[in-house]
Amino acid sequence: MSKDEVILLDFWVSPFALRAKIALAEKGVEFEARQEDLLGEKSELLLKSNPIYKKVPVLVHNGKAVNESTIIVSYIEDTWPTPSLLPPCAYGRATARFWADYVDKKLFDGGSKIWRSKGEEVEVAKKEFIEILKVLEGALGEKEYFGGDSFGFVDILAIPITAWFYAYEQYGNFKVEDESPKISAWIKKCLERESVASGYPEPTKVYEFVGLLRKVIGLE
């Protein structure tokens, strides 16, 4: 069998691209990460592979493009089944997909609201974000990972966004460790994994990047 060609269209600070990188690393799949300059021009391959959203990540596997990070992680799970990222039973999988969907709907946008707001809105955004963390704490419960004993689907989708938490803390004037110790502990646990640590951007660099974005939208 000829070797698989796996290309990931990537951007260093994108938590969504990091999801794909972690999943591929967990599966032991070799891939080529190609950096897109999202503040500059987008590559031809990106525009051709993801014409509707024109965003990273895009996984190009033997010439076929897969878009949307959560869908990419599901594709990676389907294509390279071991070690599995989802539980074997249908109900466990539905629960994992529910929390993955919650993370998708709430976590990044909730955090973004904090640094995109000004004045009183910042406090409101901060409170809403802390609520989101509390809901996630409830989902985590007493488990080590969202997946239970093993690092899995929901952990992979959520952990990259935590690289942006330092930026949220700075602009929102709070600490995740104080508001949500369980989530804080879970973050530390995940960062012990090579697959996570190797692609995880420096939170201080993410904070600088957010500063740049704030300039772009006229907040600084």
């Binding site: 897969v66 949307e68 997909r97």
Partner: protein, 229 residues
Amino acid sequence: MAASDVKLLGGWASPFVIRPRIALNLKNIDYEFLEEPLGTKSELLLKSNPVYKKIPVMIHNDKPICESLIIVQYIDEAFTSGPSILPSDPYDRSVARFWGAYIDDKWFSSLLATLKAKTEEEKKTAIEGVSTGIELLEEAFEKISKGKDFFGGDTVGYIDIALGANLAWVRVVEKLNGVELLDETKTPNLYAWSEKFCSVPAVKDLIPETDKLLEFAKTLIAKWSAAPQ
């Protein structure tokens, strides 16, 4: 399977509720339909979906499953009777999931916006959004169906369910605005598909009559314009 093993909390008009009902029908699973009247939330709903407090919720052997497309995937994995709803090939599955997500994240919000629009300008933009989505789905249908009747091929599949559940609402938006969104000449594939889809036994009785839904839409629109948004 005894009907009491499977309960579905929902409403007759919601496209999100129609989706799991189609899936259960495709798998020949009996279920108890618990209608949540509009404007109220039952104890069971609040207990089963504390995060969103929304319909649909499927309760299988007392365990709740929430979010319509997640429920559809669950039904596909939990019940082996009937045809597969998601394709077996990983790439085809990713394409099906992509369009399911597009329909929910991008297209549906335009559809809803046509009903909630406060100005003619807003309405026009929303209708354009719906049309653009339909054009993309028309193109996608050609590639994905490979000449067969449905996105799923010979049988109704994931994208068919995700999109088809919205058909009565599409017809309502057409009537309310005097536009044709699914057009025999402009979108021939989807036009033909919509007729076939609505005739499938598993689907037939679930798609609301357009006039009945139109009346319901009018009461909703009145409610939205009266209440502060």
